[in-house]
C-alpha cells in the first residue's frame, strides 16, 4: 500500500471550464492570401511574356484600366450597386421563405408528406428554365431578377432547416412539451435554437446560390448589373471588362460570405 491519502470528493463541485484555444491563427490569413497573389503573378507573367495572346487573356493592367474607365463613367458602382441590391433582397426574402417552409415541413409529418414532393420537383428545375417565365410574368424590371434570386436562395435554406428539424434531440423536445411549451413557443425556445448551426450553413449555401441565380437573371434580359456587363463585354469583345466582371463577382461573393461568417460566429457564440 502506498501512504498517499485517497481523497473522495464528488467531482461535481469542481467546475471544469473548457477553454478553447486556436493556435497560430494570426498568420493563417497570409497563407490564404499567398495563392491569389501567386495566381496574379502567373497571370502577369503569362500576358507580359506573351504565353497567351492578349485577345484571350487581358493584362492585369488593362483590367484595372477598364475598372477605372467604368468607374469614371459611374457605371461600375451602378452595376455593383444594383447587383448587390438584387442579391440582398432575394437572399433575405428567399431565406425567410425557406426558413418558414423548412420549419413547416421539418415539424409536421402531414406537411412533409403533402409538400415535400412538390417542393423537391420545383427545386429540380434548372435556374435558367425559370427566366423566360419570370420575364413573361413580371417583366424586364427588378421584380423578375429578384424573384429568380429568391428561388435560388430559398431551396438551400429549406433543405437544411427541414432536415435538421427532423433530427432535433427528441429528449429536449419532450422536455419542452412536459413544461407546457408547444407550437410557436416550442419552436422558438427549443427547436429553432437547436438547428442554428444548420440554419447558418443553409444561409451560406443560399448566398452562393443567390449570386449564381443573379448572374443567370442578368445574363438574360437586363440593362445593368454585373451579369449584363458580362454579356455586353462578350458581345463587344471587351475581354478586359469580362475579366473585371468575373473578378468583381469573386470579390463580392467572398465579401458577402465573410459577412455571413461574422454572423455565424456571433450566432454560434450565442446558440452553439
Amino acid at each position: 500500500m502506498t501512504g498517499e491519502a485517497v481523497s473522495l470528493s464528488s467531482s461535481d463541485f469542481g467546475t471544469a471550464v473548457v477553454e478553447r484555444r486556436r493556435g497560430g491563427s494570426r498568420w493563417r490569413w497570409l497563407l490564404g492570401v499567398s495563392l491569389p497573389l501567386a495566381l496574379f503573378g502567373l497571370w502577369w507573367l503569362a500576358t507580359h511574356l506573351a504565353w497567351v495572346p492578349v485577345f484571350k487573356l487581358p493584362t492585369p493592367e488593362s483590367v484595372v484600366t477598364a475598372a477605372f474607365d467604368l468607374a469614371a463613367r459611374d457605371l461600375l458602382w451602378q452595376y455593383i450597386g444594383i447587383s448587390t441590391q438584387r442579391v440582398f433582397l432575394g437572399f433575405v426574402i428567399g431565406s425567410i421563405i425557406g426558413l418558414a417552409l423548412g420549419s413547416l415541413v421539418g415539424l409536421s409529418r402531414f406537411a412533409d408528406s403533402f409538400l415535400s414532393p412538390t417542393i423537391g420537383a420545383a427545386r429540380a428545375v434548372p435556374s435558367l428554365a425559370w427566366v423566360p417565365l419570370l420575364i413573361l410574368y413580371l417583366g424586364f424590371g427588378e421584380d423578375s431578377k429578384v424573384a429568380l434570386v429568391i428561388i435560388g436562395a430559398l431551396f438551400p435554406v429549406y433543405t437544411t432547416v427541414a432536415g435538421a428539424l427532423r433530427h432535433v434531440d427528441p429528449q429536449l423536445v419532450e422536455f419542452g412539451r412536459a413544461y407546457g411549451y408547444h407550437g410557436a413557443r416550442l419552436l422558438t425556445t427549443v427547436q429553432l435554437p437547436a438547428v442554428v448551426p444548420a440554419i447558418i450553413s443553409g444561409l451560406r449555401l443560399a448566398l452562393a446560390q443567390a449570386w449564381l441565380f443573379l448572374v443567370a437573371a442578368e445574363l438574360v434580359g437586363s440593362t445593368m448589373g454585373l451579369g449584363f456587363l458580362l454579356i455586353e463585354s462578350q458581345n463587344n469583345g471587351r475581354i478586359d471588362r469580362l475579366f473585371l466582371a468575373i473578378v468583381v463577382l469573386a470579390v463580392l461573393g467572398k465579401l458577402s460570405d465573410t459577412l455571413v461568417g461574422v454572423l455565424e460566429r456571433f450566432l454560434l457564440k450565442r446558440w452553439g
Binding site: S10, S11, D12, F13, Q171, L172, R177, A194
Partner: protein
C-alpha cells in the same frame, strides 16, 4: 398532504392501463401546471446558461423581477450559485442534474415527478444528491413521486414505497406492495429496521440477498435486545 413517494420499478412505458389520475381531487391534464418532471438525463438546453435554463421552468406570465429572484433562490438551494453563467457542457453530471431539479422546482409544483433522477450518476455523487434532495424538500415541501431502481435510495428518501411489478401475461405494471417506511429523515444508512425492509424489498423484487435463513428473526431479536438495553440504560 406532503409526502415523498418512491416506487422501485419503472412505470410501464408505452402500455397504458385504464384509470384516473388526480391531484387534490381534480383530474390531471396532459400537461399540468400543478406538476413538474425531472428526467433521468438533465435535458438542459445546451445553448442556454444554467440560469436561463432554470428560467424555462418558471410558470408562464411570471414577472421578470420575481422570476429572476426565484431562479437565484433555487440555484442557491441546489448549491449552483457559483455556476449560474456556465453552459451545460461546462458542468458535471451531478451539477446538471441539480440544475434540472431547480428547473422543475421553478414551476412551484404540487407534485414533483422525478424519473430516476440520480440513476446516471456515480455512486458517491448519488448519495450526496439524496441528501441534497432532502434539504430541498425541507425548504420546498412538495409531494415528490420518485421512480428508482435503487432500493437503498427508496429506503433513504421515501415515506411510502410503492413496489411495482409486471406479470408476464398482462401488459404494464401493477402495484405489488405498498410499504410505509415510517422513519424520520435524515435516516441512518446502516439502520437495522431499514435493513429488514431492504431484505424484504429485495426478495419481493426477486433478488437473492444471500441472508441466512433466520436473518429476519435474528435482526428483530438484535433490535429488541438493543431497545431493552436502551430502556435499561434509561432507568
Amino acid at each position: 398532504m406532503r409526502q415523498v413517494h418512491a416506487a422501485p420499478a419503472r412505470l410501464g412505458a408505452g402500455s397504458r392501463g385504464r384509470g384516473e389520475l388526480s391531484i387534490g381531487g381534480s383530474p390531471v391534464a396532459p400537461v399540468d401546471q400543478r406538476s413538474a418532471v425531472a428526467f433521468q438525463e438533465p435535458r438542459l438546453l445546451p445553448w442556454r446558461t444554467i440560469t436561463r435554463n432554470v428560467e424555462l421552468g418558471l410558470p408562464r406570465g411570471t414577472a421578470k423581477q420575481d422570476g429572476q429572484a426565484r431562479v437565484a433562490e433555487l440555484l442557491r438551494l441546489v448549491q449552483l450559485d457559483h455556476a449560474t453563467s456556465l453552459r451545460p457542457r461546462q458542468i458535471s453530471g451531478g451539477m446538471a442534474q441539480r440544475a434540472s431539479l431547480a428547473r422543475a422546482l421553478a414551476r412551484n409544483p404540487g407534485v414533483l415527478l422525478l424519473d430516476e433522477p440520480f440513476g446516471a450518476l456515480d455512486a458517491l455523487t448519488r448519495l450526496t444528491m439524496q441528501d441534497l434532495l432532502l434539504d430541498v424538500h425541507a425548504a420546498e415541501p412538495t409531494t415528490i413521486l420518485l421512480v428508482t431502481h435503487d432500493v437503498d435510495e427508496a429506503l433513504q428518501l421515501a415515506d411510502r414505497i410503492v413496489l411495482l411489478g409486471s406479470d408476464d401475461d398482462t401488459p404494464g405494471a401493477t402495484i405489488r406492495r405498498v410499504l410505509e417506511v415510517g422513519k424520520k429523515r435524515p435516516r441512518d444508512r446502516g439502520d437495522a429496521q431499514l435493513a429488514i425492509l431492504r431484505a424484504e424489498l429485495l426478495s419481493l423484487l426477486g433478488v437473492e440477498n444471500h441472508h441466512p435463513e433466520d436473518y429476519l428473526t435474528q435482526a428483530i431479536k438484535a433490535q429488541r435486545a438493543r431497545r431493552a438495553s436502551a430502556t435499561a440504560a434509561g432507568t
